[in-house]
């Protein structure tokens, strides 16, 4: 039968989770930073009274509305995936992970959702201060949400504060130890700064695009609002990209202690050695258990991971085959993708400082083009980073204690294949359309008296005559023929 040609239920469930969670995280990776950026913009507007900040705020508020909606609906899917596809995992880890996720809903999701309406539609309806408070609460909600979900994810990497009951369930013993498990603090920092950089790259790219495209005004200046975006994004890159490298290094040291197999896969090391080289590029070969065509820098591997020239680094061969990452090349290459992009971000930030110091930040087309090209880089780096850490901890869901193969639901492969096909089609259609609208929004230059999410009328302040956003007659004739 046709069904027999399907991959195993386990592989289908894994692929479905990888697909839905990767797609989902693209949106929070962007909106976490964007919410905070909006709070800063509104704060600057209230503080300085400069209208251009309000225009930039409204410009990005429209983007936020679309991106956040996509994050919400794709996130709803995630909260059910644990039960639909990983019910054995849910049953055993529920006592520990369920409460952590329940706290995410209670402290973050309601906060975001509750004040999102005020943030999007309340300007001019509530006072400015109250509106600013709503924006700050939404931004805070995104940070709290990250706190809980990364705590849960970290616990799966470094389980702590539990005992195992007679029926195999994980029983909570110490909530403090569970929530603040060993890998959580740096994972949180690393992920949140990643989100901020992702936003900075997108905002910077949109600003740079309009600086490249627009004519100067009578005074010879470029679009003021695009300059604000670009300048703020480059400050973020200059300040945070180097810090991110530092957090990444700490993350690596943590992983070396708790998940040495993963680090060995990231580095492409098969043999345990002292004074290990840093393999820049190569082809990890799982059959032959070696990394072919390796380009190496001697001793640097030990120096980075052990902070000494002859530090010992364990190779993959030191671990039984059934405890090694199941896809070493994926871990190896996704790690290099992340680090490579991170390096480019640091370079972008450094060059921006130099140009800014010379007063030429907006003047060099090559630099603006570089910033445009870096637009999606944050999303790629964040995705690559997650692939590194999640593919690297296979074949376990709870590290060292529960295998992925033992976590899956008793659902037949045809059901999983059907749902996977549906998810793929729907996600590409719906989120494809959403991303297309985002690009349409990016394509409009930020203008004085920028519209809010529902055109001038929804957010107009007193005294401005509303103009229809689109030809009203054409739209009125758009009645569906039903």
């Amino acid at each position: 039968m046709l069904w027999d040609a399907l991959p195993s239920a386990l592989d289908l469930a894994r692929f479905q989770f990888a697909f839905t969670v990767t797609f989902h995280f693209l949106f929070p990776a962007f909106t976490i930073g964007l919410a905070s950026y909006l709070a800063v913009l509104e704060g600057l507007w209230l503080w300085t009274g400069r209208e251009a900040y309000l225009d930039v705020f409204r410009y990005w508020l429209k983007v936020f509305a679309v991106a956040f909606a996509m994050g919400v609906v794709s996130g709803l899917v995630m909260s059910y995936q644990f039960g639909t596809n990983w019910s054995a995992f849910a049953d055993r880890t529920g006592p520990v992970l369920g409460p952590v996720m329940a706290y995410e809903v209670l402290t973050a999701f309601f906060l975001e959702a509750g004040f999102l309406g005020v943030m999007l539609f309340g300007l001019g309806r509530v006072g400015n201060r109250l509106h600013f408070a709503a924006t700050c609460l939404v931004a805070t909600g995104t940070l709290i949400s990250g706190f809980w979900i990364l705590s849960a994810n970290s616990w799966m990497h470094t389980p702590a504060g539990f005992s195992i009951g007679p029926d195999g369930r994980f029983m909570p013993e110490d909530w403090w130890a569970i929530v603040f498990n060993p890998s959580f603090p740096f994972r949180y920092l690393h992920t949140m700064t990643g989100a901020f950089l992702t936003t900075a790259m997108i905002v910077g790219a949109v600003g740079a695009y309009h600086l490249l495209r627009e004519r100067r005004d009578i005074l010879g200046r470029k679009n003021e609002r695009a300059r604000i975006m670009f300048s703020m994004a480059m400050w973020m890159a200059a300040a945070v990209a180097p810090a991110q490298a530092l957090f990444g290094d700490m993350q690596g040291l943590w992983a070396l202690e708790h998940q040495p197999q993963k680090v060995a896969a990231m580095e492409g090391h098969w043999e345990t050695q002292r004074g290990a080289p840093l393999i820049l590029f190569g082809m990890p070969d799982m059959q032959r258990e070696e990394t072919r065509l390796a380009v190496e820098i001697p001793y640097l591997g030990s120096l980075i991971l052990r902070h000494s020239l002859d530090g010992e680094i364990k190779g993959l061969k030191d671990f039984p085959v059934d405890q090694r990452p199941t896809n070493v090349p994926l871990v190896f290459w996704s790690f290099r993708t992340m680090v490579g992009i991170g390096t480019l971000m640091i370079a972008l930030g450094a060059v921006s400082l130099l140009l800014r110091w010379r007063g030429q930040l907006y003047e060099k087309p090559w630099f603006l083009r570089w910033a445009v090209a870096m637009g999606p880089s944050g999303l790629v780096a964040v995705t690559a980073g997650w692939i590194t850490t999640e593919a690297g901890r296979q074949p376990f869901t709870v590290y060292g204690l529960m295998r992925t193969a033992d976590s899956v639901s008793p659902i037949a492969a045809p059901a999983l294949a059907t749902s996977l096909a549906l998810f793929v089609v729907v996600y590409f259609v719906v989120f494809g359309a959403g991303i297309w609208y985002l690009f349409r929004l990016f394509g409009h230059a930020p203008e004085p008296h920028e519209e809010g999410p529902r055109g001038h009328e929804a957010l107009r302040t007193a005294g401005i005559t509303p103009a229809p956003a689109v030809a009203p007659d054409a739209m009125r004739d758009a009645r569906p023929a039903e």
Partner: protein, 355 residues
């Protein structure tokens, strides 16, 4: 507090969250269900604008239901979700279409795009509502569990009864949506909504009756709850109250219609007309009674026919850990949710977006 007491409290909290979800997303989804009979662009914009600031918060109660089940009744989470695999996946996909359409409708650049997002909004609402009803029916008719895991196939959920509950929920959500519009709009759209409310209330009452007649024959436990003495003393007021409320709702719809005829001026912004809100409150009352009836049948089962809330409960430590937060946070959530509703109160003003 003993572990049993905590689990009982949690059963009520989760039932409360699910009920709030049903009410609040019920009228959101109802708008999509009514879309085929609300065809003008302006009317559709108005209808969607009545819920745009609040729909996301409404949907969050569904997430709380899911996460709460995971945290407090993990065995229920781990058996119900695989058992209802297909209906839940389809519900989620429906909610995706519905959720993004809120934004996309307003980003549409051509009439064709708008037409497709309207279809996504309406179609997504139909699919989500229908499969929520199917999921409910499939849960009530029983889930096969062996050795702490779901032991049935991936089509077990499909039965005449689950299809019936699916259609019934469509009708019920349509009623909530129509009554919501009676409250939040005026003029032509309100008049149209009043007509729709009457039609959907007949459908809803019919389905409530039909489901109530079938329920006792699904499981002997359910039958005992409804027909044995003295349990019947507790259960009997429910159907009686349904009739009383239904009568009150029809009267309220008539009164609202007469009041609308008598009004010559549009209602000022932010002014709440409680007489127009009464049909909505009655519809919520009907939902509450139906939900209570369901609770009477199922108590204390969480996964019929065998698993009780106490079987499914997480260890006491997990339950208490979340309970401490929930006791403190849920009132705060209700307060700021109420505040948002208050902020966007009154009749939606035509052509003014959110004012």
């Amino acid at each position: 507090m003993s572990a049993e007491t905590v689990a009982t409290i949690w059963a009520f909290i989760i039932a409360f969250a699910v009920f709030l979800y049903v009410c609040m997303d019920g009228f959101d989804l109802g708008l999509g269900i009514l879309f085929p009979w609300v065809s003008g662009r302006d009317e559709r914009d108005l209808a969607v604008n009545t819920v745009a600031p609040v729909w996301d918060g409404n949907e969050t109660w569904l997430v709380l239901g899911g996460a709460g089940l995971f945290g407090v009744f993990p065995l229920a989470y781990a058996t119900i979700l695989p058992a209802l695999y297909m209906p839940l996946i389809l519900m989620l996909l429906g909610l995706i279409f519905r959720g993004v359409s809120f934004e996309m409708r307003f980003r549409s650049e051509t009439p064709t795009q708008l037409l497709w997002w309207d279809r996504a909004f309406s179609g997504g609402s139909y699919v989500a509502a229908f499969f929520q009803g199917v999921a409910l029916g499939a849960l009530v008719q029983g889930v096969r569990v062996e050795d702490r895991a779901y032991a049935g196939g991936w089509w077990d959920w499909l039965s005449p009864f689950s299809v019936l509950t699916g259609v019934a929920l469509l009708a019920g959500y349509g009623l909530l949506g129509a009554c919501w519009l009676v409250w939040k709009t005026e003029g032509g759209l309100q008049e149209q909504s009043r007509k729709l409310a009457r039609v959907f209330s007949f459908l809803t009452l019919g389905f409530i009756g039909l489901v109530s007649l079938i329920m006792p024959f699904l499981m002997p436990e359910f039958r005992a709850r409804w027909f044995d003495f003295p349990a019947i003393l507790l259960a009997l007021p429910v159907p009686v109250l349904v009739v009383v409320l239904a009568w009150r709702m029809f009267r309220a719809l008539d009164e609202s219609g007469r009041a609308a005829l008598a009004r010559t001026e549009p209602t000022p912004p932010g002014h709440v007309l409680w007489e127009d809100g009464l049909p909505f409150l009655c519809a919520l009352g009907l939902f509450f009674l139906a939900y209570t009836g369901l609770g009477i049948s199922m108590w204390p089962l969480i996964v019929p026919p065998e698993i009780t809330i106490w079987d499914a409960a997480a260890p006491r430590s997990s339950q208490v850990f979340v309970l401490v937060g929930a006791a403190f946070l849920i009132p705060i959530i209700l307060a700021y949710t109420g505040y948002t509703y208050w902020l966007f109160r009154g009749k939606i003003q035509p052509g003014k977006g959110y004012h």
